[in-house]
Amino acid sequence: MTTEALTLLVFGPLVAGLTMIVAPRRATLPVALLGLLSLPLALWPLTRAVGRGDEVRLALAGVAAPLGIAWRLDALAVTMLWLTLAVALLVSMHALSSFPPASDAGQRFWPLWLILVGSVHALFVSADLFNLYVTLELVTLAAVAMTALSGAPGAMRAAMRYLLLGLMASLFYLLSIALLYGQTGTLDLYQVGERLGEDGAVAVIALALMITSLLVKSAIVPLHVWLPAAHAKAPGPVSAVLSGLVVKVALYILIRVWFWTGAAATGANAAGAAATGANAALVLGLLGAASIVYGSLAALLQARLKMLVAYSTVAQLGYVMLVFPLASTAAFRAVAFHLVAHGLAKAAMFLAAANILHALGSDRLSRLLGVDKRLPVNVLAFVIAGVSIMGLPPSGGFVAKWMLLQAAWQQQGWGWVALISVGGLLATAYVLRVVALAYAEPRSARSAQRTTQQREGPAAPLGRRFGLTNVSALLLALLAIVLGLAPTPLLGLIDLGLPPGLTP
């Protein structure tokens, strides 16, 4: 039962995506619905099985590793799969309206979209380093193609920059796998660490290459240069998925390799490796700090809404890096929760920003003056998502930041405590900058007249206000709030998948 569910989870969307390419136009919508709506049915029994403590494994087509493809599902993977499901379904809802399946644009969007979802699923269940490489490459290629979807020169140039850096990072990762395989004779995520025992130098080079590669893909400062333009210039639903899911995929691999593979390696030859590990963890933490500060300041300086939201992603991803120096169960829980909360809130924020861009024809912040009158539902979605990004209660973002603050406090890491607080303040500043503009009354009568002229008529009628595009943004934002009101189920799930050998 679980193996069938696991197969459906990965191959359902992939097959649906490939079918759409060859199937006639009118088949796109039913195939997409079939591919997407089967996902909760597959994920539910898997969650039950993992909740019972069963280990879900599958050797694809009965061929065992290392030549075959091995899948393994644990609670961390299930957590990420639920995030994927929530974002995928609600972003699909947006895309039903912004990329109608029967239109030309829809014909290009939907196959790529389902292939991306299938690749992300395949990545989360992969149990060996090489499969992670293949699926990461699939995710990157699909993401780049979707970035360039609009065909606008700016979008294609951003996509090209993303592709070049992404491919370089992939090759670094591949070289690292070659080194690790030469050293240990295995690719299994868990066995590699156990066998890395003696020779430290090769292991250090290999892990350094792998970490660099993953830092590029997860856009940690100073390797973030590709992200803002790519995320800002992509079409609305695509930006939401890129910021909500795709960047997190690389962070997921980083956490996996660090806490599962790496921890086993330090266990094998204690003292020396532990010291190197601690230094590397500190470096990663400092890069995270740089991301938080730089990303937030850059967000404050942006003149365009989508660029602001994109830089906010750079900042928020920085928090994930704090799990490496803090290295405690408390920090791990906080960061896993943050991945989910940020995924939902940022997807909501990007959808709202895209709707505003679509309605105004521009996302310059100066044009946002009084936009609340015209797009009340969108502005509301943006504000609610902003509450979670700022880390105000009651929201998922608040729970995550609070737990992270507690984790830093426990270890008397005052520097990290200060950093998390400053990061929160900066986030408040850049979110409120937008909110204040959107709710502002135009000051003088003249500027009021000018804004009225800019509007293409009276406020949208109520039916259009609650269209698919607005409601999907609002629902995602509300989910981020629900996560703060009822964090227990998600925390329970995260607790089942804690990495081995962490201090509480």
Partner: protein, 102 residues
């Protein structure tokens, strides 16, 4: 053992050349070629790893190289298509310079 050392050094040199080219080249075509050079270096390295086991060539490492080549070919094809579109739309062959606004 010495022959594998030669291969390893060659792979490292080619890898370095590729990274240098990727960073310094302006033309998109050169950047793509540089990426393929890096890819070749990684494949040489992996094949060296495959050949050093005492029981003869290791099939797993060879399977990895084959998969890697397939991925590299498709990624290159995609990048070329994107490059052609960019050149057609912008008449620019590099990513330098500011993007047009609005």
């Amino acid at each position: 053992m010495t022959s594998s050392l030669v291969y390893m050094l060659a792979a490292s040199a080619v890898f370095g050349i590729g990274v240098f080219g990727l960073i310094t080249a302006e033309h998109l075509m050169q950047k793509l070629l540089a990426l393929n050079v890096i890819g070749s270096a990684v494949f040489i390295f992996m094949l060296t790893v495959a050949g050093t086991t005492p029981e003869g060539p290791d099939p797993v490492a060879q399977a990895l190289v084959l998969t890697g080549i397939v991925i590299a070919v498709s990624a290159t094809a995609f990048a070329l298509a994107l490059m052609v579109r960019i050149v057609q739309e912008t008449r620019l062959t590099s990513l330098w310079g500011r993007d047009d606004e609005d």
